[in-house]
């Protein structure tokens, strides 16, 4: 019998990031970060935590780590987000603050409509992390 070709639940990129997530902070014990942010709650089904390191001179994100409680799309969204803000020498903070969830979804090769909020949450956690960093900077001054 000829087997019908099946698609995975999500896009190929989502699958790759879900199965081999990039930049997970498995253990934060010895991780020195400049900013930390959380978004979501377990009741809505997703919680995301994002940690960032910032290059003070260039104001670019040097490192971005994360942990996510959530479905496959949530895990892949945060993984993709962490990759996007650290690639090409790091994303400037200003640009990262205005990063649109749609851009994450686009890079993931799309998400089901019901899962769009996963990309929103990741972005929200990143924003919090950046604001946390900026607040700390202000206090220093």
């Amino acid at each position: 019998m000829k087997k019908i070709k099946t698609n995975w639940l999500y896009s190929q990129t989502v699958k790759e990031h879900f199965l081999n997530p990039k930049n997970v902070l498995w253990d934060e014990k010895n991780y020195q970060f400049d900013g930390k942010g959380t978004a979501g709650n377990p009741v809505c089904g997703d919680v995301m935590m994002v940690w960032i390191k910032v290059d003070p001179k260039t104001q670019k994100i040097k490192d971005c780590k994360w942990r996510t409680y959530g479905c496959g799309a949530a895990i892949a969204s945060t993984s993709m987000l962490s990759m996007m803000v650290t690639e090409k020498g790091g994303m400037p903070l200003k640009k990262a603050l205005n990063l649109k969830p749609q851009e994450i979804v686009k890079r993931l090769g799309g998400l089901p409509a019901l899962k769009f909020h996963c990309s929103v949450l990741g972005q929200a956690a990143l924003k919090e992390a950046i604001n946390d960093y900026l607040k700390k900077q202000k206090r220093k001054k």
Partner: protein, 391 residues
């Protein structure tokens, strides 16, 4: 080679090869319309009536009111709307449990929109209907009670006999309320004798018992009339119009016969496997819990929660290892609401989203379960380490 371990028998089963063989003639040579007068038609008619007799024997009833339908869902709908519409002049109250299959739940909700009053009975933390609460809910206006025999998600078996006793004592010599049970998950595992259960209507289907999908039946006690859902022909005593699908009806009855024949032995085998797995998994994986009742549960049902992780990711990871399982997760790509059954047990949304259902079947072996016991702890640990929620 990639493993292929199917542990979602409560979702559906393959068709048993013996059953398939018995269906085949009715898909090819014996294709007649059962309403036709010539021999090809009569041949189909005879096969359908034999199937009806065979099922009646298993239920221990007369064959006259076994109505073949297109699914368990259709049978549930027919029971609920059929009784509600036939007896709406006698009362407008219906009682169901909070953990019914959506086929019953959504039917009841639709009745509410039509002006009926519905009581949704609570269950205790293990999924059993509270009998005292049920007694209090009965009123002179109650025309129908629908409580499932065994739950599809957590496997909890209800005390149908006791519920029917309560109903019988309440209605004395009256006909109402009628008592319907959805027995789709119970078939092949529990007794289906109507006399023992004391129900007036009972739903069965083929796709959970190694029979064909798209087949089912509703038993209705002869004292009750029901309004059909589908009209346009006199088939099935005028209660379900449409040319009978002889092959599916034959397949369904053959599957039920086989399930009944294997019931005792297979149930014991599955129960042993189930308890073996549950004992081990709770020992190996920290912060794991069993959902449902430890003993009063279907022999093939395992439903677990792993705090701190989300069911969909767990199922997708298991799939990578060739293990097919399901979840009561809040976060599947098609539905964002957590399982109504797990929430009715009083579980938090978080824990309800962290659930995994494994349902065993005829091809499940101890070896399969040992493989899952090897893979599952690794996945749970990885997802927990990756989780933003720390236990």
């Amino acid at each position: 080679m990639k493993k292929n371990i199917y542990l979602d028998y409560a979702a559906t089963t393959y068709i048993d090869s013996e059953v398939l063989q018995k269906m085949k003639p009715y898909l090819t040579s014996a294709y007649g319309n059962a309403s036709s007068l010539y021999s090809l038609g009569r041949e189909a008619k005879a096969a359908i009536e034999k199937a009806r007799d065979d099922i009646a024997k298993i239920l221990g009833v007369l064959p006259s009111k076994i109505i073949f339908t297109g699914s368990g869902t259709e049978s549930d709908n027919l029971a609920i709307f059929g009784i509600a519409q036939a007896y709406r002049d006698y009362g407008n109250h219906v009682i169901i449990s909070k953990i019914e299959h959506k086929a019953v739940l959504e039917s009841a909700k639709k009745l509410e929109k039509q002006g009926f009053k519905v009581t949704y009975l609570n269950v205790d933390s293990q999924g059993s209907v509270k009998l005292a609460e049920f007694k209090k809910a009965l009123s002179k206006k109650t025309i129908l009670v629908s409580i499932m025999y065994a739950n599809n998600e957590i496997g909890t078996i209800q005390t149908i006999k006791e519920i029917s006793w309560i109903i019988k004592r309440f209605r004395k010599n009256n006909l109402l309320p009628a008592f319907h049970t959805d027995a789709c998950q119970a078939a092949g595992a529990l007794s289906l004798k109507i006399k023992d259960l004391g129900v007036d209507l009972l739903t069965l289907n083929g796709s959970k018992i190694y029979g064909p999908k798209g087949s089912g039946c509703l038993y209705v006690n002869k004292d009750y009339k029901i309004e059909p859902l589908i009209v346009g022909g006199s088939q099935e005593m005028g209660l379900r119009a449409g040319t009978e699908n002889t092959a599916l009806i034959v397949g369904f009855s053959e599957a039920l016969k086989l399930a009944e024949k294997l019931r005792k032995k297979e149930s014991q085998r599955l129960k042993n496997l189930r308890d073996y797995f549950i004992k081990k998994v709770l020992k190996i994986i920290p912060n794991a819990r069993l959902n449902g009742h430890p003993q009063k549960r279907l022999p093939n049902n395992i439903n677990l929660s792993f705090a701190g992780i989300e069911g969909e990711s767990l199922v997708l990871k298991l799939d990578q290892y060739g293990i097919s399982a399901s979840t009561g997760s809040a976060c599947t790509s098609t539905d964002l609401t957590p399982s109504h059954v797990l929430l009715a047990l009083g579980m938090s949304e978080e824990l309800a989203s962290a659930s995994l259902r494994l349902t065993l079947g005829r091809k499940t072996t101890e070896e399969d379960l040992d493989y899952v016991l090897k893979i599952l702890p690794k996945i749970v640990e990885e997802l927990r380490k990756m989780s933003a929620i720390r236990l």
